[in-house]
């Protein structure tokens, strides 16, 4: 999940600083992406965040809590507004479930819904669930290096393989030398940019430096964006394994 991935990338930079600072000045594109992902393996986290969904004529703010275990498992629960409180999404491996307290039902997400917006946001379920696809399904090329505010920004072009399950023509990522993902732009097959994920704020939370505010915006529909801000983050905590079960999803237990 992007949220998770961001936490992951955040962690990567936290740890990555030590991992790569002594290496060659010019890491390869694959190194940059792989290191970020690999360094987050087995990390657990607890975060509190708020999400703003912005549309041309309205805007909605909700609060959520998320628990992660490793790279694959996550539980996200809405705490506000009251209308949505209790709604939750559980992901284990590549299965996903949602729970709606009003219906008191757990729904295993059918694959047909994977490309739909998660909780009405600009993040799709697929954005949430994708993991290390970037390493296996894309050709990664480092196309640009720039110095910005004392950091090196690496621009990586990711072109999906012929039969990769990816609709995009390409993706372009900007990764800072401390592995903060600065932006990720999705291009259609005519190489027109369609949506972009950006780090709006980069700060320190839970003793780690990471993108504390991220925004996903649709470039062909201006004024449509979703922003997630991290308000509290704890890393390397012990998370109860029972949390990542359908039972926990339904009963609303919190770790």
């Amino acid at each position: 999940m992007v949220v998770i991935r961001f936490i992951a990338v955040a962690l990567a930079m936290g740890l990555g600083g030590t991992a790569f600072s002594e290496q060659a000045d010019q890491p390869t594109a694959r190194d940059l992406v792989a290191a970020a992902i690999d360094l987050t393996r087995g990390v657990s986290s607890y975060t509190e965040m708020s999400m703003v969904i912005h549309r041309p004529d309205w805007q909605r703010t909700s609060s959520l809590r998320a628990w992660t275990r490793g790279r694959e498992d996550a539980l996200i629960r809405f705490t506000a507004p009251a209308k949505d409180a209790g709604s939750a999404t559980l992901k284990t491996g590549n299965k996903m479930w949602t729970f709606t307290p009003k219906l008191n039902r757990v729904i295993r997400l059918p694959f047909s819904m994977m490309s739909q917006g998660w909780a009405g946001s600009d993040f799709s379920y697929q954005d949430l669930s994708r993991t290390d696809k970037l390493l296996h399904q894309y050709d990664l090329v480092l196309i640009d290096t720039q110095q910005v505010d004392g950091f090196t920004h690496y621009t990586i072009e990711a072109t999906p393989h012929e039969n990769a399950p990816v609709v995009w023509g390409k993706e372009e990522m900007v990764i800072r030398d401390d592995y903060v993902l600065i932006s990720q732009t999705y291009f259609d097959q005519e190489m027109v940019p369609l949506k972009r994920l950006e780090a709006v704020d980069i700060g320190t939370l839970g003793n780690r430096v990471f993108a504390t505010r991220i925004r996903m915006s649709k470039l062909d529909e201006p004024d449509n964006w979703t922003e997630i801000s991290y308000e509290k983050a704890d890393f390397d905590i012990s998370v109860d394994d029972a949390l990542f079960t359908v039972f926990a999803l339904k009963t609303g237990r919190a770790g």
Partner: protein, 406 residues
Amino acid sequence: MTLPFTLLVQLSWRNLWRHRRRNGMLLAAILVAVGTVVFANAVIRGYQGDMLNDAVNNLAGHVKVLAPGYRADPSIDKSFTIAPDWQPPLDPSLVLGWTSRVRVPAVIMSERETRGVQLVGVDPERETLISFLGEVDIIGGYLEGPADRRVLIGKALAEQLDTRLGRRIVMITQGSDGLNREAGFRIVGLYDGEGTGVEKVFVFTGRETLQALLDTTAITEISVRLIADEYGALAGRQLAASFSDLEVMGWRELQPQIAAMFAFADAAIFIWFTIMMIALGFGLINTLVTAVLERTRELGMLRALGMRPRAVVAQVVIESVLIIGVGLVLGLAVGVWLVSLLDEGIDLGRWAAGVEMFGMRTVLVPRLLVADLVLVAIMTMIFGLIASFYPALRAVRIKPLEAMRR
């Protein structure tokens, strides 16, 4: 006194010519009735033919073999395997073509849109023989073999997805383990299903490609197309005998709605014919009765001279048969001529939207069946005979004495 038959025919023939205008009108009525019946019949048959064609083309075939439960839950779990060299256990001269397919529900995604579709893994070569893929126009290229890794999608679907020939789309479906399988496919071609509704439903790729994606060697259906619909039941029985644990179904069972419409069209032909004949029957009776009443004196005279009642009846019946016969021949000729005028089909393009709603094509080609023509001829003659019964009765009832005193 018995009259030779030829004399009776001669008498009747001359009687007809005595009232040219009246009998001409009757003849015209018969001609129009028979002509329109023939024409309407051909149009309905043409519609029926299209319907049958679409039903069978619609990946149904005349007979289909499915795993039990597939129809209720069409997933890769409900599949079966056949030997690589399997051949349908049917008389090869009855089989136009057959194919095996893997058909699963899937989601197709472009950069901008997502749609639910049926992903069908096919043997492209076999498919052209038995389904609409052999008939439709294709923009771009066709799949090149069961291992082709590209997809053929409908034109309307491409529009919905805002994608184009040569672009890549992503298909997501579910394996038998319940986990998602996804892969990117390049669009090799767009087919034009003429708005038959299939365009937005079926996405085709190579069968082996889809099997590989789903981690299986199984297929979900065998579809057999026969040289004619009549052999469906026989083929069904023979297939069922060799696949005892699978479901063998004809297109009528698979698409009951179309089967019902098909039967309705049959009934419509009959109803139309009956209405025309009843209307015509009254005209015929009226004319014949008038002819008889006009000749009361004459018939009375003939009776007095010794003509048998049987001969009087024969005379009226022959008159009826003659006029009906001539009308029938001319009517059939006019009907056939009308149909031949529309050999190219009736262009319903102006009402395309409405027509497509009924699943019809925009060009309707009337179809003449010899059996239908024979049936119309026989039925018309029978109606003619029945209609002449009452006038003949009136003629026989004429009493010679009373008639001659008038």
